[in-house]
């Protein structure tokens, strides 16, 4: 469903700071795949997700989503089909607006915006149902401004907003990294729940090796702008952190250097 072909992204091209962030990547993602992405600092994980999401133009290659070439589509147009959650829990919601107003934008996402009322009885019912699922009591606080919520609550809301319109693709960029451990676990469980329930094709960057192995059906390891391992199904089931690190060292010819990742091992 997602086909990335010969993708190349170079920052500061033609300057002494030139940096090949993505070096000719090919990747085919199948319908319903839940892929975790790991890699050392500067491996190009975020750049890959940002390229797919249309945040910046790429130097070379094509990105095809459900037979549609989205390589040159702008960020907001891509977002009509792609849900995203960022590391910063403040990035995905509008703080001065209420929970119901934020959710309303997410629910309207699949339709074109119009001069219809942003809120309605029917819409509120849908919202309550969704909010009950994430089990944070937010369904009773529809008119609370989002800025009054905790980081974890805001990230849960963002995750709900990213999935409620049933996107073709969900991109998660270390979306639990800025949360405290207990909240992070909650958000991870919620992620698995929402993704499975709606069978959303997902790419998730994580710095947590254990999560990378436990979650999803496929694991990709990136290094120096390339995909060095693509581990699927049964092979992934048998993976351990030690094995993964060893595999990395063989290909990379050196120790793994992601401080946060090693700390979380």
């Amino acid at each position: 469903m997602l086909k990335v072909k010969n993708l190349e992204k170079i920052f500061y091209r033609g300057t002494p700071n030139e940096n090949i962030a993505i070096n000719k990547i090919d990747l085919t993602v199948n319908e319903g795949d839940f892929i975790t992405i790991v890699g050392s600092n500067g491996a190009g994980k975020s750049t890959l997700l940002n390229s797919i999401a249309g945040v910046f133009p790429v130097e070379n290659g094509t990105i095809i989503l459900d037979n549609e070439d989205i390589t040159k589509k702008s960020e907001y147009k891509c977002a009509q089909e792609i849900g995203r959650v960022f590391q910063n829990p403040l990035a995905g919601t509008s703080p001065e607006m209420t929970i119901e107003e934020n959710l309303s934008l997410a629910i309207s996402k699949s339709n074109n915006l119009s001069l219809k009322w942003g809120l309605s009885k029917h819409k509120r019912e849908i919202m309550r149902k969704h909010l009950e699922k994430i089990d944070l009591g937010l369904e009773k606080r529809l008119t609370t401004k989002v800025k009054l919520l905790s980081g974890g609550q805001r990230q849960a809301l963002t995750l709900l907003m990213a999935t409620v319109a049933n996107p073709r693709l969900l991109l998660l960029d270390e979306h639990t990294a800025a949360l405290d451990p207990a909240t992070a676990i909650k958000i991870k469980n919620l992620t698995a729940e929402l993704v499975n329930e709606n069978n959303i094709t997902t790419l998730m960057i994580t710095h947590n090796m254990e999560d990378a192995i436990k979650m999803g059906n496929r694991l990709i390891m990136m290094d120096d702008g390339q995909i060095i391992y693509d581990i699927k199904a049964e092979e992934k089931e048998e993976l351990t952190i030690e094995k993964l690190l060893k595999m990395f060292e063989i290909k990379h010819g050196g120790k793994f250097n992601n401080d946060r990742m090693l700390l979380s091992v």
Partner: protein, 288 residues
């Protein structure tokens, strides 16, 4: 301060209140410091006054002013979203161009409207007694504008507009173009400012090419006074606050003038007032 003085302040507060609502949209909702308003206020007055001298219906001339103001906002939006010129500079460029355009529209620096049909002469001729004639008309207009604006800001597009100023990344993630939203917000904002200019022109009986100087600061003062006095819990309360803020602002100016302040010092006073209000949160924090 006698009664007629109070009524004048109230009327001015209402007429300029629509401008303050426009500034509220750009400054608070879009988070876009838009200086176009210094040009679009006299633009509204100029278009309306010129059309009045040509014998147009005064109410229709308000509509023409709204459209002209919308165009001015669209130019600033184009400069910012398409040509990527910084918000402040985009507004200044449009404002500066509008000075020439306003002179072209009027054909001279000042158009007196004494003896011409205006919306205020219309209501007086209906036999509504002073002081209710002007007041009633202005209240009806501003309440209508406020209600339409409140309703709009609670539609799907209105939500998107509000979120654009609050968190542009979020609005892009929702598949909405922040550029379109900025454009829309600037058009609405400057359309309102031009409407206000047309009303002020008809109210004071002339349009003048220099009448826009300091509009943005007066608008900001109204918005901020409204936030301090009324608050901003919801959109309906916030827009109410802006109107009350505008009225209080005009009252404080009348009082200052009554106390013997020279009219030429008013702009300085307003600027200082805005500085004090804008810096209060920081000063409070520092003192804690």
């Amino acid at each position: 301060m006698n009664l007629s003085f109070a009524i004048t302040s109230l009327e001015q507060g209402l007429a300029f209140g629509i401008m303050a609502l426009g500034v509220f949209i750009s400054f608070r909702i879009l988070d876009f410091a838009d200086l176009t308003v210094d040009g679009s206020l006299p633009l509204g007055a100029a278009v309306s006054a010129r059309l009045l001298t040509m014998g147009m219906n005064p109410f229709l001339s308000l509509g023409a002013a709204i459209i002209a103001g919308g165009f001015a906002g669209a130019i600033t939006g184009f400069l910012n979203t398409k040509l990527k010129i910084a918000p402040l500079l985009s507004g200044i460029l449009t404002m500066t161009s509008l000075y020439s355009i306003n002179l072209r529209v009027m054909g001279r620096p000042n158009i007196p409207l004494i003896g011409k049909d205006t919306i205020f002469s219309f209501i007086r001729d209906l036999g509504v007694p002073y002081p209710w004639n002007n007041l009633l008309l202005l209240i009806v207009i501003i309440v209508a504008v406020k209600l339409v604006l409140d309703a709009f800001l609670n539609t799907q597009i209105g939500f998107a507009l509000r979120a654009t100023g609050d968190n542009p990344q979020m609005i892009r993630s929702m598949g909405i173009s922040t550029n379109s939203m900025k454009m829309l917000g600037l058009i609405i904002s400057n359309a309102l400012v031009a409407l206000s200019g047309a009303l002020v022109g008809q109210y004071q009986g002339f349009a003048d090419v220099n009448m826009g100087v300091g509009t943005i600061v007066a608008g900001l003062a109204s918005v901020i006074i409204g936030e301090v006095v009324i608050g901003e819990r919801s959109i309906m309360i916030a827009t109410m606050g802006v109107i009350i803020g505008s009225i209080l602002y005009r009252f404080s100016i009348s009082i200052a003038l009554n106390l013997g302040l020279a009219a030429s010092d008013l702009k300085l006073l307003t600027a200082i007032l805005v500085i004090i209000f804008l810096s209060t949160p920081r000063i409070k924090k520092a003192l804690r």
